[in-house]
């Protein structure tokens, strides 16, 4: 394609080495947590402790993805809360209905 004179002059800045290193570090943390999850999946006895570890690991991973990759950690406080506040209710509802399901299971399968 021929060069058009109306193409804008674009000034390309050099790569932000520090920022890129930080992003790869976050990626490394995510991978290490996932590997740790695999180790737990195959070595630990099945039980509520195992589930608890998985839930905590998942929340840690979610925090890194939303905070660093989606840049939410560096946004204005009111935006952070606008996103986080509804999520608190979601987590409550998941917890409440899992608990509810366990009670229903107790009634259905009296032990």
């Amino acid at each position: 394609m021929a060069h058009h004179s109306h193409e804008p002059e674009v000034i390309v800045a050099p790569p932000n080495k520090e920022k890129i290193m930080h992003l790869w570090k976050v990626a490394g943390i995510l991978l290490v947590i996932t590997i740790f999850e695999f180790i737990v999946a195959f070595t630990m006895h099945h039980g509520s402790m195992k589930t608890f570890i998985f839930v905590v690991m998942t929340i840690v991973k979610a925090t890194y993805i939303v905070g660093e990759f989606m840049h939410l950690r560096h946004e204005v406080k009111v935006l952070i809360w606008a996103i986080l506040f509804p999520v608190i209710f979601i987590s409550w509802m998941i917890g409440a209905l899992v608990f509810e399901g366990m009670k229903m299971s107790d009634i259905n399968f009296l032990r």
Binding site: E7, L23, T34, H46, M57, F69, V76, V78, I90, G101
Partner: protein, 255 residues
């Protein structure tokens, strides 16, 4: 980018207009709120999954002696243990681990594309967008294989008892669909199709959007516009898709 919230006129608060109290552009803010509403949709699936699953009996015995049965919820690592080209070899969670790795890596390349966009570096945006698209297509292909395997089932199948024409008979079923499931209770297959299917649809839409961004970068649209903010907005969506997978991975495959 971020407008200063300090420059308000006396007597007017920052919510009276003229400034961005949330410090992001309209488009990015709306993408955040769309993603929040999308999170509600996914958590609707997750909440009902949590309820139905905890209603079912759990398998309490030794995992090594686990067999498929409609009596209890299956142990996921014994359901998802197939890997392409390793037919008949038990490799629990290996394939889903590869899928997780692919999606996390494509999230990294996406954030690198966003970083390149901040610098107006068209060549670097093109490079990282292509890697991201490749990651998304790889993930979708993996999912297609996994669905196929899930639907076709294992060689041995599961023997079920059923009441046909007034007498009890047995029948061997293979794989799972919307009305039969060799792996366990019917709800297990239904939730698998709905949750991973809905997520896969999001990945598909994400790949389409990524391709659009790539195309517009190559044709120089964002250079003419003077801003690569669209890369950032679609990047938010792509990270959200990755985020949902983190939850699906934990609650469907690990727990």
């Amino acid at each position: 980018m971020s407008q200063s919230t300090a420059a308000t006129i006396p007597g007017r608060t920052e919510w009276d207009g003229g400034v961005s109290p949330m410090g992001v552009s309209y488009g990015k803010l709306m993408m955040w709120f769309f993603l929040l509403s999308d999170a509600f949709t996914f958590s609707g699936l997750l909440v009902s999954y949590g309820l139905i699953r905890s209603q079912h009996q759990a398998f309490t015995g030794d995992h090594a002696k686990f067999v498929f049965s409609h009596e209890y919820w299956p142990v996921p690592e014994r359901v998802f243990e197939a890997v392409p080209f390793f037919h008949g070899v038990e490799l629990p969670l290996v394939f889903v681990g590869i899928m997780t790795f692919v999606l996390i890596m494509s999230s990294v390349t996406m954030v690198l594309a966003v970083e390149a966009g901040h610098r107006m570096d068209r060549k670097a945006v093109e490079k990282w967008m292509l890697w991201t698209i490749l990651g998304g297509v790889t993930f979708l292909s993996c999912q297609a294989w996994e669905w196929t395997h899930f639907i076709i089932g294992t060689d041995a199948g599961t023997t079920i008892k059923e009441f046909v024409n007034g007498s009890w008979t047995t029948r061997v079923i293979h794989g799972a669909n919307m009305h039969e499931n060799q792996y366990g209770p019917q709800a297990f297959a239904d939730f698998f199709f709905f949750i991973t299917g809905f997520h896969g649809f999001h990945v598909f839409s994400g790949v389409m959007l990524n391709f659009l961004i790539y195309y517009r970068t190559v044709t120089g649209m964002y250079d003419r516009r003077g801003s690569y903010e669209m890369v950032e907005k679609v990047g938010l969506y792509w990270h959200f898709v990755d985020l949902v997978w983190v939850f699906v991975f934990t609650f469907y495959y690990l727990v």
